[in-house]
């Protein structure tokens, strides 16, 4: 009999009940909650007189709506303010730990789970947010759910799921210098398309993955959903263990070594068989950006706007106000956003600061740096990154989802073009009429300095 994939190992150990039909009742170890997709779920509990089954496996934070200017400033938008108040009220009523705006543990839900060490290998993790796939970087099965399912998990600590298929995405070779995790994942999505991962859990493997830091693996798993996948996964190795050691949520001292020994088994067996396999030579990848309105529309930063292949491409080009053949290095950018659950961790900020150090943001650009959490912010400040950014003319802001999506004051105006380290270049995603290009933190910083799309080496 063939060995098991990592996905199969986690799935098997969480089956509470399976019916004769394809639905399995899967146990949830960690349920992350934020203000946007939970209010109607809590309402549902109240309507039916239900309680939260396991408040001790449920953790809430405020991220999507929080303004990223001074914490002392009140929230101007009454609807946003109300949504945050409702989260506070619900967490209080149902006994859930909450990190509200300004709390030392507050931040983007997919940044705080890992940094607090509560996202752990082998877990099933869910959240009413599609980018829950991020936590798969720890060898956990993590996926986004809708509000009805949020209510279901609150009430039962389980989620009914059809079993996904497994896909191995093997990255052979080493990524060349200057090619980051963001470029790897944009390259993968460009290859697979926005529907290429549909129905699959994608496990990233191979030398180029082993070489990635946890931050890089989180970037990779985060955007699995943009290829349509249910979840992304990376097997546990010493990088995983080293990252988790000493984190608040994990056992400390000898107890950690004991659990780490179990975690090391959370890899796909050598003879495991995947339903599908894709092999990509990482050494052939280059820094990428998106030119269109879905994340599979990618091009080389050093290249030109491509010719459209179909009507969807033509529609994207029109929306993006782009002409094929124009060099990206000739396209002016209005806003640079460094942040989001994809790229707001300490390593992302270090990469951007490295490029920015000693230079200045171009006159035509507004550049924002938004740390993913208060812990990231504090760490960055202890390393002096805030000073580097401020001196270079970047805004250094408070943590939150910020300009990734138009739910808080950080938004693009109609017609503004951004270079953004976030995950979605959908029409209007960063603000109505905004034109989004997804890039890595290093390319974002270089672009801020150059005023047009640029590689780090061009900027210095």
């Amino acid at each position: 009999m063939a060995g098991a994939t990592l996905f199969e190992k986690i799935w098997k150990s969480h089956v509470v009940a399976s019916s004769d039909d394809a639905l399995t009742t899967l146990y949830v170890d960690l349920h992350l909650v934020h203000e946007v997709t939970s209010p109607q779920a809590f309402d549902g509990l109240r309507l039916n007189g239900r309680r939260v089954r396991r408040p001790d496996r449920t953790l809430a934070t405020a991220d999507h709506n929080v303004p990223t200017d001074a914490l002392t400033a009140p929230i101007a938008d009454p609807i946003s303010r109300r949504q945050l108040e409702v989260l506070n009220e619900n967490c209080q009523e149902f006994g859930i730990t909450l990190f509200p705006r300004g709390h030392e543990n507050q931040g983007i839900v997919h940044v705080i789970g890992p940094e607090l060490g509560v996202s752990q290998p082998g877990m099933v993790i869910v959240c009413g947010d599609s980018h829950t796939s991020t936590h798969g970087a720890f060898g956990a099965l993590a996926f986004g759910i809708g509000t009805s399912e949020v209510e279901h998990v609150l009430a039962t600590q389980t989620v009914p799921q059809s079993k996904p298929r497994t896909m191995a995405v093997t990255l052979t070779g080493s990524a060349p210098a200057g090619v980051t995790a963001k470029d790897l994942v944009l390259g993968i999505i460009g290859r697979l398309g926005t529907g290429g991962g549909a129905g699959y859990v994608m496990e990233y493997r191979g030398p180029a993955i082993s070489q990635l830091s946890m931050e890089g693996r989180m970037t990779l798993c985060n955007m699995s959903i943009e290829a349509g996948a249910r979840a992304g996964l990376v097997g546990v190795d010493e990088t995983t263990i080293d990252y988790l050691r000493g984190k608040p949520g994990v056992p400390q001292g000898p107890a950690f070594d004991e659990i780490a020994e179990k975690w090391r088994r959370l890899i796909s067996d050598d003879d495991a068989v995947f339903d599908h396999e894709v092999v990509i030579d990482a050494s052939q990848l280059v820094p990428l950006l998106t030119w269109g309105t879905n994340p599979a529309q990618v091009a080389e930063v050093s290249g030109v706007v491509p010719e459209p292949r179909d009507d969807a491409d033509r529609r994207s080009l029109t929306y993006m106000q782009l002409t094929p053949g124009v060099r990206f290095s000739d396209i002016p950018v209005d806003v640079v956003f460094i942040g989001s659950c994809t790229n707001s961790r300490i390593e992302d900020l270090r990469a951007a600061a490295d490029v920015a150090a000693g230079h200045h943001v171009a006159a035509n650009v507004r550049a924002l740096v938004v740390p993913g959490s208060h812990r990231v912010k504090k760490q960055a400040e202890s390393e002096g990154l805030d000073l580097i950014f401020r001196e270079a003319g970047f805004e250094w802001r408070e943590p939150g989802c910020s300009m990734c999506l138009g739910m808080n004051p950080d938004q693009l105006s109609p017609g503004q073009r951004s270079a953004s380290t976030s995950n979605r270049n959908f029409e209007g995603r960063q603000g109505r009429g905004g034109l989004t290009h997804l890039v890595s933190p290093a390319v974002a910083a270089a672009t801020a300095l150059a005023g047009t799309f640029a590689l780090p080496k061009d900027a210095s």
Binding site: A22, Q40, I79, G146, Q157, P160, G195, P248, G406, R429
Partner: protein, 216 residues
Amino acid sequence: MKPVHVVEGTGVPLNRSDVDTDQIIPSDWLKRVERTGFGRGLFSEWRDDTTFVLNDPNYASASILVAGSRFGTGSSREHAVWALMDYGFTAVVAPSFGDIFKNNSSKQGLLTVEIDEVDVTSLMNIISENPNTLITIDVANATIEIAALGWSRHFELSRNTRERLLNGWDDIGLTLRHESEITTFESHHDLEALSLRGIFDAGGHVVHYDQSQGEA
């Protein structure tokens, strides 16, 4: 959710692929804490364009949306489903759907009918030529048909989803019928898996973290 047996109505062709949930309901609408009233926000950025198909009076009473591939990809927002239903749609027909969107739809009783691209294209052509064409979707038989033209296609519908739609079952109620199994599972699983108990104090501040700082 209310039981859904047969859905009948006219269709509106939305000839675009990759219609993500940010387009279906822009995030500005997600600040609301209610479950109702999202219909006004449906495709709100596109509806400003007078030539947008939903603004065409010929399709004013349409209740079945016919769209391109990968409808509902992106964000997990169930608000997309609430918006479509609040606007008056009872079904979406497309060659493929975003995973979470499809799941969310099944919880609310919005039918997602997945048929081949070539069939979606012919359906779009039919309703473009005659917006009054009556389309019937039968949940029990998993068929979509235009009786007047003798046009009929079968679509995939898992037994579980079909039963839930036909009976209007509440998922949570169904799962809680197996509560003892969850309790049994927890009795051994709890020994292994993390609980947040003891990690954070009443104010949400980390207890373990302070300890490790003290030791260092």
